[in-house]
């Protein structure tokens, strides 16, 4: 068992996950994240990336091993954690402001605190002028911004993002990536970011964890040494392109290797 880094906020120790008697989804996951880490999770579909986030969120229990979130069991850590889903997952009958306020309302925060927090969260994502709109009046990118503002309204220590920009066009996605990093400059959270896009993973993270499938396990971890703050210029630097190439090749080799070792139980 590896020694515990005293500074880690998320700590997986030989974690295994299966649903009921089903096949092993995640096998022997050992991974730790320090505060302010931005960990990108990438891998072929079915490698259990989203499941990994659900374990951290306490939405699903681990089968074997140990998982410690901010010193607690995942189900015991409350309020330090926010989740951004693949879909914006907004309540259609609430306005933008009410949607962002929801997590605070659910824990009965004082009204004044809610108002102030929500306003600053909306300012962060640039949606203050749309505060009284209903979700159906917003574009896909705007809905995702609301979803991010809602997650940030909790001042989370851990931010889990499950392919949040997967459904958006490339330009909107690039913009949102830049915005997310700009917000990170002003806040202190640790991020786990699931994505299918190598470019996105390299641009955002300081660590890329490549997973392989059947069962999902950690194939390789690649540090991303590009300095923060990153800007659109980062995408033009040779170091960036080199990393994108490296991760793409790694991902291809992982995907190619799936059929060869696939002893279905």
């Amino acid at each position: 068992m590896p020694p515990t880094a005293p500074t880690s906020i998320v700590e997986f120790r030989r974690v295994e996950k299966r649903y009921g008697d089903g096949p092993v989804i995640l096998n022997d996951i050992t991974l730790s994240a320090a505060p302010r880490d931005f960990v990108a999770l990438i891998g072929p579909s079915g490698c259990g990336k989203s499941t990994l986030l659900k374990l951290v969120a306490g939405l699903s229990p681990i089968t074997r091993g140990e998982l410690i979130i901010a010193g607690h069991d995942p189900t015991g850590s409350t309020g330090e954690l926010a989740y951004v889903f693949q879909e914006p997952t907004l309540l259609p009958w609430l306005t933008v402001v009410e949607n962002v306020a929801l997590p605070l309302k659910l824990r009965s925060a004082p009204a004044a605190e809610i108002a102030a927090t929500v306003r600053s969260a909306l300012d962060l994502v640039g949606l203050a002028p749309r505060a009284d709109y209903y979700p159906r009046q917003l574009s896909g990118g705007q809905k995702m911004r609301v979803s991010i503002a809602r997650a940030l309204s909790l001042s989370p220590r851990i931010l889990l993002l499950d392919e949040p920009f997967g459904a958006l066009d490339e330009m909107t996605r690039d913009h949102l990536n830049e915005e997310l990093l700009a917000i990170r400059e002003r806040q202190q959270w640790t991020a786990f970011f699931v994505t299918h896009s190598v470019a996105e993973a390299v641009f955002l993270s300081n660590r890329i964890v490549v997973l392989s499938a059947n069962p999902g396990r950690i194939h390789r971890e690649i540090p991303v040494d590009l300095p923060y703050p990153r800007t659109p210029d980062t995408r033009r630097s040779p170091a960036y392109h080199q990393l994108v190439d490296q991760v793409s090749q790694l991902l291809r080799s992982v995907e190619d290797s799936i059929p060869t070792r696939n002893p279905k139980p």
């Binding site: 939405l59 954690l81 989740y83 889903f85 997952t89 309540l91 997590p103 009046q137």
Partner: protein, 264 residues
């Protein structure tokens, strides 16, 4: 008023006038001794005048029965739906009996009801309730169990209590389904009250409604008065549906896709 809106009002009115004209035409084309089979529009108007007080009293009674039965159905079905939505096991336990209740023709029940609670408003209310209940319960239950799984997960993630999940998520999400049931029930309520009154109406005091009035007019061969009764029933149905549609608009038009966007 835009010309399109004007046409939307004018054309239905024209069709209405045309139908009344056609009606009059059929009436006069019948031979003199056959004309009683289809009273003229004017005769129906006259019947309104002649039977006005009776019709008004009957309408009030039927409206009362329809509304009471409808309101009871809404309250009971909403409560039951909440219970049914708790677990698949609860649903499996009670659903067969809900079906049996729906499949049994009310007409067969009516004579028993009259024996149990007596003729009049009570019977009419219960019959209306039985007719409105099923579509409401089925639709509301469906709505309560069809909540978007992602939203449920979101609430779990934010450690919402069960009550918060019900009141802030499941109930609002079920509203469109509830209104589908409510719309069906609103068309059924006046019919239910009418059928109830027809089979279990009361001649005592002021108890008779439109169903009872139908029995009287048909036995006295007052066909123009029957047409007038039918017109009143029709208006009553419109009133119920319009009330439900207005409420639905009020609660849903901001956010639900069944209403057009307000600003595009």
């Amino acid at each position: 008023m835009s010309s399109r809106k004007f046409l939307q009002l004018l054309l239905p009115a024209l069709v209405g006038a045309l139908l009344i004209g056609l009606w009059q035409l059929v009436h006069v084309s019948l031979s003199e001794d056959q004309r009683f089979l289809l009273p003229a529009p004017a005769a129906v108007l006259a019947a309104f005048h002649e039977h006005g007080p009776d019709l008004w009293r009957a309408t009030l009674n039927t409206t009362q029965g329809a509304f009471l039965g409808f309101a009871c159905a809404v309250i009971v079905s909403a409560t039951l739906s909440l219970i049914l939505s708790l677990s698949p096991l609860v649903r499996a336990t009670f659903y067969p009996y809900l079906m049996i209740l729906q499949m049994t023709p009310i007409i067969v029940f009516a004579p028993m009801l009259v024996i149990w609670v007596g003729p009049g408003l009570k019977s009419v209310t219960i019959i209306t309730f039985l007719i409105c209940f099923f579509p409401l319960a089925v639709n509301t239950t469906q709505g309560l169990v069809s909540t978007d799984r992602n939203l449920v997960e979101l609430f779990r993630l934010y450690r919402a209590t069960k009550l918060q999940e019900i009141f802030r998520l499941r109930l609002p999400a079920a509203l469109p389904y509830f209104f589908t049931g409510l719309r069906i029930a609103a068309t059924l309520a006046p019919i239910g009250a009418l059928v109830g009154d027809y089979t279990a109406g009361s001649s005592a005091g002021d108890g008779g409604g439109l169903g009872f009035q139908t029995l009287i007019y048909s036995s006295q061969a007052k066909y123009a008065a029957l047409f007038a009764t039918a017109t009143v029933c029709c208006a009553l149905g419109f009133l119920f549906v319009a009330a439900v549609l207005s409420l639905s608009w009020l609660l849903l038009h901001h956010w639900h896709d069944s209403y057009e966007r307000a600003d595009t």
